[in-house]
Symmetry: C2
Subunit: 367 residues, 2 copies
C-alpha cells in the first residue's frame, strides 16, 4: 500500500493506493476518526454495486458503522440535478446529519455526483472517494465535483476536497478492456504535461498496464495522482496553472458533445484531442517529432488519434465555442512544448483548429 498526500493546507488529504482496500474501509474510517453515531451514505451505480458494494458495506458494518446505499444508473445521465435530488432524499430520509459521510464508490460520474451531494448536504459533510476505475485516478484528485445542466456539462458544482481517497487496485481487475485503455489515456496525459520520464515509462510499460499488472498499476496511479496533486496544490480553484490539466480536453469535450456523450469514452476523446494539440503545436513551429512521439505513445495503448470521419467540423467548432473554458470569444488551448511540458496559449485561431480537424480526418479511423 502506498500513500500520497495531497497538500492543500487545512483541506489536505491522503490517497491510499493498494490491494484490497475496500475490504478495509472500516479501519480507514476509524483511522480518520469518523463518528459511528452518524449514518454513512454510499453512492454507487448498477455496474459497480454487484461487484464491490458488499465489501464496503461489510467492512464498515463490522467496524460498527451504519450504512445506507443509493444506487444510480451507470453513465453520464446520472450526473443530473434530478438524480442529485433523489440522493438528497435518501440522505434526509435515512437521517444523515452534519457528522455523516458520503462515500463515492465508482468512477467519475459517481464521484462527481456524490461529491456534489457531500459538498451541499447541510452545506457540506465528509466526503470519501473509493474510485473503481483507472480514469478516476484523475477525477479523485482536485476536488472538482459537479452535475450537468441539460445545456452544458459540469455547470453546477463546487470545489470540495475529500477526507480521503481509498484506491483499491484490485477493484480495477474487473474493468472492460476499452475502459482500461480509456483510463490510461489520462495517466499518459499526466506524463505528457509534466514529466517526460514518466511519459517514457508509460510507453515502455504499456503492455503491463493494459494487462493490469498490480505493481505497474500502483506505480502508474501514484505517479499520475502525484502529478495532478502537485498542479492542484499550486492552483486549487483553477485560476491559472491548473488549466494545463486540460491538455486534449478542448477538442476532446467537443468530440464527446458532438458524439452525444456515449459514442466516445472520455479517455478516447481526449486522446484524439491530445493528438490535435500536438499537431497544432507542430504547425506553430515545434518539431514534427513532437506529434509523432505523442501519437506513438497513445497508439501503444490502443487509443484513437485520428478524427472520426462522421463528426462534422462545424458541430465540433460550435461545441468548442460553448465550452466554459472560452471567455470573451477567444480560444484558449493547452499546447505541448515538448514531451513533459505544455503551455497555455490564448490566441489559437479557429482556422488552425479547422485545419487540424481536417488533417486528423485524413489519418483515417484507427479506433
Amino acid at each position: 500500500m502506498r500513500t500520497l498526500e495531497v497538500d492543500l493546507g487545512d483541506r489536505s488529504y491522503p490517497i491510499y493506493i493498494g490491494g484490497d482496500l475496500l475490504k478495509q474501509a472500516g479501519a480507514y474510517f476509524e483511522r480518520h476518526g469518523l463518528t459511528k453515531k452518524s449514518p454513512v451514505l454510499i453512492v454507487t451505480d448498477k455496474n459497480v454495486a454487484p461487484l464491490h458494494l458488499h465489501k464496503v458495506e461489510a467492512s464498515l458494518q463490522a467496524s460498527g458503522y451504519r450504512t445506507v446505499c443509493h444506487i444510480v444508473e451507470a453513465g453520464e445521465p446520472s450526473k443530473s440535478l434530478a438524480v442529485f435530488e433523489q440522493v438528497m432524499t435518501t440522505a434526509i430520509e435515512n437521517g444523515l446529519d452534519r457528522k455523516s459521510s458520503v462515500v463515492a464508490l465508482g468512477g467519475g460520474v459517481v464521484g462527481d455526483l456524490a461529491g456534489f451531494v457531500a459538498a451541499s448536504y447541510m452545506r457540506g459533510v465528509t466526503f470519501v472517494q473509493m474510485p473503481t476505475t483507472i480514469l478516476a485516478h484523475d477525477s479523485s484528485v482536485g476536488g472538482k465535483v459537479a452535475v450537468n445542466h441539460r445545456l452544458a456539462k459540469n455547470m453546477i458544482g463546487a470545489f470540495y476536497q475529500p477526507e480521503m481517497v481509498l484506491y483499491d487496485v484490485n477493484s480495477l481487475q474487473t474493468l472492460p478492456d476499452r475502459e482500461v485503455r480509456a483510463g490510461l489515456s489520462e495517466m499518459v496525459k499526466h506524463g505528457l504535461i509534466w514529466d517526460e520520464p514518466f511519459a517514457n515509462w508509460c510507453g515502455d510499460n504499456c503492455d503491463k498496464l493494459l494487462a493490469l499488472d498490480a505493481d505497474a498499476l500502483e506505480y502508474g496511479l501514484i505517479q499520475g495522482c502525484g502529478i495532478k496533486a502537485k498542479v492542484v496544490a499550486t492552483d486549487e480553484r483553477e485560476q491559472g496553472l491548473r488549466a494545463i490539466l486540460n491538455l486534449g480536453h478542448t477538442l476532446g469535450h467537443a468530440i464527446e458533445a458532438t458524439g452525444g456523450y456515449g459514442e466516445y469514452l472520455h479517455g478516447e476523446a481526449i486522446s484524439i484531442g491530445m493528438a490535435a494539440a500536438a499537431l497544432i503545436a507542430v504547425h506553430r513551429g515545434r518539431d514534427a517529432s513532437l506529434y509523432e512521439k505523442t501519437i506513438q505513445l497513445l497508439k501503444g495503448f490502443g487509443l484513437p488519434t485520428a478524427m472520426p470521419q462522421h463528426l462534422k467540423e462545424e458541430q465540433l467548432i460550435s461545441a468548442m465555442m460553448h465550452d466554459k473554458k472560452f471567455t470573451e470569444n477567444k480560444i484558449v488551448f493547452v499546447l505541448p512544448v515538448r514531451i513533459g511540458e505544455v503551455e497555455i496559449v490564448s490566441d489559437v485561431m479557429l482556422e488552425e483548429v479547422r485545419q487540424v480537424i481536417a488533417e486528423l480526418k485524413g489519418e483515417g479511423q484507427n479506433v
Copy 2:
C-alpha cells in the same frame, strides 16, 4: 455611508450601509474591480423588482456592465431546486462565464437562492448581496446560502461568502409594517446574545426603528451586522460558537414548519422562540427578571411572545426533532444567561420544552 469589514481571511468582504447605494451599484462594482466583459446576473423577486430593479440596472449599465435579470415569485417556495435550475438556465443562456457576478437583490429568500447559484455556477462565481429587508441584515452576513428540500429547510447549500454587501437603507422605506417588526426581531436577537448596551439601545429606540428613522436604522444595522460578523469570523463553518446565533430558532423553526411556512414570518417565530428560551432558562434557575426583560423588549417592537393556541404541542415537538440542529436524539438549546449573553446547552429535556409550550399558550394570543 458606513462600512463594516467582515473578517474572514482571504474571504473577507465589506458591508456598505447607507442611503441610495443601489443607485451607485456600478461605482461599487468598479471599485471592486469586477470585469465589464462578463455579464452580470441580477436575481430578484416580483415584489422587489418594480421597486428597485431599475435603479440597479441603470447604475450598472451606465458604468458599462451588461445585465441579465431573473425574477422569481416572492416567498419561500422560490427556495427550491426547481427554481435554482431555472436561474442556472438563465445564466447559461445569457453566457455568464467564470468572471461573471450574481447579484441577490431582495430579502433572505432571494439571498439564499442567488447565493447558492453563485456558489455552484461553474463551481463558483462572484456573489454580490443587495438586501432590501431588515431581516436580511442577518442573512447577508455569514455566507450561509441554501435551497430547501421538500422534506426539510435549507438542506442543500453551501458556505459561500459574497464579494460585497450593498445595504441601501432607503430601500427599506417601502417595507410593510409587519416585515419591519419581524426584521427588527433579528436585530434585537443580536443584542440579546452578545451586547447588553445594544439590546438596551434597541429598547430605547424601538419607536425610531419602527418609524424607519434613517440614522437609527443605519446604527442598528451596523451594530447587528457587526455582532454577527464577529461571531461568524470566529466560527465560519458553524462548528461551535456560531450556534449562539440560533437563539430562538430551535422552537422558532418548529413554529414556522408547523404553521406551514407562511402563517408566521421568521422574525415573529423566533420572537416566540426567544421568549421560550428565556422561560426555560428561568426554570433552570436564572432570575425571573431575565424572562420579563426579554418579553418586554420584544413587545416593545410589537412582536409576539405567546405561543399560538392552535399550534399542537406534538407537532411542534415532532418538527423540532426533524431539525438538523439535533444530533443523536439529544436536544440542543441556546439559552440566555443574562441580557447580552447566552450559552449552548445540550441536555434540554423534551419535558422542559413541553412545559414551556404550555405556559406560553397560557399567555394568550398577543400577536
